[in-house]
């Protein structure tokens, strides 16, 4: 009995002190300090970037704390779903990093807050930012007359190539206006069987079964648009689009310059870093992957010209969520993410292409390879955003299913795209 009484006393003391601390804490936080929850798609690998940005921001705004939370997901669709679940579950984030793929999806679902009023209010302050950013990037975040985000980072699709493999085979750096035939020629030369055992040891190229990072650059350069320019209707069985899909299939099965297509990008990073493939497509995000794997001997060139030579791009920013109780504080953080200071910080780390022209052409871009980093921003003059309609999550899923069949050589490109068109029409009406 004596022991029991002691235990009860101890528990009471502990509970009381915890309650007191919490109360004091909430008074301290509740009075002056605003706490914002920020989520982004990513893993523990890039949390440092966001945490550092949050700290830099806090140093400037001691009254706002940004709590950074990584949401691991393999696709944007999955990420948006997790945000939706947080909102439905009653713990909505205040801020979220969102890319173009999610703008219309999130806007139609009412997840994001339009920021036109804030932009109008801080017009003078933001003028310098708008002057520094390519209009194509700003335009990408407008939907039905409203602006939802300010662009901070973006990626386009360029060809990465292994400098050492090119030099060893006496292949010079391809020019900007190289064609898909030049590309194929090089890919054929670089597909090699070193020991003559009938097994290819080095492929020229590799294609993932991916939307942004796999098929779209070929489709755009083949002269197709995938969807109508307003993203309202599908156009995937357009002859040029079928041509592009057929060409990707041929790279694997006809010319045999690429291994069978994997469903994700991970094998490509591994293969390219270890010299098993000589070229691959990507934006600026693979740079970090390669450098982490100890691979520095790579450079980039524009996507080879076919009927057209446009650059496919995707762009991201930080959105204020509709559910936030502190939109003013959230807006301060959004503005901070567009500042030169914050963008320069992560540009040096090799994360994405900066939205600001002044930084995209600055020293910060050249601390890591590729040597020709100016190509990224140069390409924006003839760039087209990745098709991202409100039904993006379904469109991507349907298209990849058919693309996968074609790249596995199990359905003809024409038949697959006809079926895909039908399914997309049903979803997009």
């Amino acid at each position: 009995m004596e022991r029991l009484r002691g235990a009860v006393l101890l528990i009471t003391v502990v509970v009381l002190s915890v309650v007191t601390v919490c109360l004091l804490g909430s008074i301290a936080v509740g009075k002056d300090i605003v706490k914002l929850r920020f989520v982004y798609l990513g893993s523990a690998a890039d949390i440092k970037i966001w945490k550092d940005l949050a700290d830099m921001f806090h140093a400037k705004h001691p009254d706002i704390i940004v709590d950074v939370q990584a949401v691991p997901a393999t696709t944007w669709a999955e990420y948006f779903d997790k945000i939706a679940t947080m909102i439905a579950g009653g713990s909505p984030p205040d801020l979220a990093r969102i890319a173009i793929e999610g703008v219309q999806l999130c806007a139609t679902k009412g997840l994001m807050m339009p920021i036109d009023d804030y932009i109008a209010r801080d017009k003078e302050e933001l003028q310098e930012f708008f002057d520094d950013v390519h209009p194509a990037l700003i335009q990408a975040f407008r939907y039905e007359g409203k602006t939802y985000m300010l662009p901070i980072e973006w990626n386009n699709m360029v060809i990465f190539y292994n400098i050492k493999i090119f030099e060893k085979n006496g292949i010079p750096r391809p020019p900007r206006d190289w064609t898909k035939d030049d590309f194929l020629e090089i890919a054929k030369k670089l597909t090699q069987d070193f020991d003559g055992d009938g097994k290819i040891d080095q492929y020229g190229f590799e294609i993932p079964i991916q939307y942004f990072a796999g098929a779209m650059p070929w489709i755009f350069n083949a002269g197709a648009t995938f969807l109508t320019p307003d993203w309202k209707k599908p156009l995937v069985n357009d002859p040029n689009c079928v041509d592009a899909v057929q060409f990707m299939r041929d790279l694997i099965w006809e010319y045999r310059v690429a291994p069978p297509a994997p469903a994700t990008l991970d094998p490509l990073y591994a293969h390219f870093s270890s010299g098993q493939i000589a070229m691959m497509g990507g934006g600026r995000w693979p740079v970090l992957q390669f450098v982490n794997a100890g691979m520095y001997d790579f450079d980039i060139q524009l996507w080879p010209k076919w009927r057209d030579q446009v650059t496919e791009f995707g762009v991201g920013g930080v959105a204020i969520m509709q559910a936030t109780k502190n939109p003013d504080a959230a807006w301060e953080f959004v503005k901070f993410t567009t500042s030169k200071e914050s963008i320069t910080y992560w540009t040096k780390l090799g994360w994405c292409v900066p939205a600001r022209r002044s930084i995209a052409y600055s020293e910060a871009m050249y601390e890591l390879p590729p040597k020709h980093a100016e190509l990224y921003y140069d390409s924006l003059d003839n760039a087209r955003p990745v098709p991202s309609p409100p039904q993006y999550n379904q469109v991507e899923n349907i298209f990849l299913r058919y693309l996968g069949e074609v790249l596995a050589n199990e359905r003809s490109a024409k038949e697959a795209m006809d079926l895909c068109q039908k399914e997309l029409e049903a979803v997009m009406q």
Partner: protein
């Protein structure tokens, strides 16, 4: 009318037992029964998680009956279940019998932990590792196949092999569980039965067929029911290794319902698919219970 008299002590004991069961029951109600009942209701609605649900009565069910891809996914799942469960049980039984043979205790411990090790690793980690092992051109598995003079196999990139690859990984991952189960069962079989059979002139096959199998049948039965339920819910391996592809060739039913619920925001239809799977598993388990009387021997 005779009323059963309850011993007051027994009654008290029962109360205490319920008290101890309470945490599990509460958890089970909140996390299993609750969502199950909720999904029955959700299946009658069109719901995208964010906006308020719209009542659509049996529209989701009508859609279910017309869904051709659902059939493909079910057929994949059935093929997977049959292959995975049968290979799993047979291999596990063989390995368990082999481990149970006369050998040094340390060696037996080593073998047993070696087969059990994959069970403890998370399915996601296993999938990622196998994803690289099964790479067509640069994977370790094909490297050895070529060394042996065989052809390389497009494990994950061809619809002929994608489902088989998932069976392979699943068997590798879950085999150990059944091996441990079976070895425990084998050790419970009294030695004198084998000795008596030996005297009667039985050979090894006879004692396996007429002593081991019947004596092990309760364990076998449990293992099969358990493996079936698990196999019907396979998700991680195709989700990480093939994303259900190429085409729909390795899309299992749980992957399909996940896509509808958590990628396309159609919770209503996803719940309907989930219920259809629930009914199928329930029916199969009932059938097994019924047939078990014929072959399971509770000595």
């Amino acid at each position: 009318m005779v009323r059963k008299r309850v011993n007051p002590l027994k009654k008290k004991e029962a109360q205490i037992a319920y008290l101890f069961l309470l945490p599990t029951l509460v958890g089970f109600t909140i996390f299993v029964i609750g969502p199950m009942i909720a999904s029955i209701f959700i299946s009658l609605y069109k719901w995208d998680i964010l906006s308020s649900p719209q009542f659509v009565a049996f529209k989701n069910y009508l859609h279910l009956l017309k869904d051709i891809r659902l059939l493909t996914c079910y057929s994949n799942t059935f093929r997977f279940v049959v292959l995975a469960v049968s290979i799993n049980i047979m291999c596990a039984l063989l390995i368990a019998v082999a481990i149970n043979a006369k050998m040094h205790g340390t060696l037996r411990g080593f073998y047993r932990s070696a087969v059990f090790l994959p069970v403890m690793v998370s399915a996601a980690a296993v999938s990622v590792v196998w994803f690289f092992l099964l790479d067509t051109d640069f994977g370790v598995v094909n490297y050895y196949l070529l060394k042996l003079g065989l052809r390389k196999i497009p494990w994950l990139t061809s619809s002929r092999y994608s489902l088989w690859s998932i069976v392979l990984v699943d068997v590798w991952k879950t085999l150990g569980f059944n091996v441990v189960l079976f070895s425990a069962g084998l050790q419970n079989i009294p030695r004198h039965l084998y000795e008596a059979a030996l005297i009667d002139g039985a050979n090894r096959w006879h004692s396996f067929r007429y002593i081991t199998i019947p004596m092990l049948s309760p364990t076998l039965f449990f293992a099969i029911v358990w493996a079936l339920i698990g196999a019907f819910q396979v998700f991680d391996y195709p989700f990480i290794m093939t994303q259900g592809g190429p085409g729909d060739s390795s899309r299992t039913i749980v992957l399909y319902l996940y896509e509808h619920g958590f990628r396309f925001f159609s919770m209503g239809y996803a719940s309907t698919v989930a219920l259809s799977l629930f009914i199928i598993i329930l029916l199969l388990t009932l059938l097994q219970l019924k047939f078990s009387e014929r072959w399971v021997f509770y000595g």
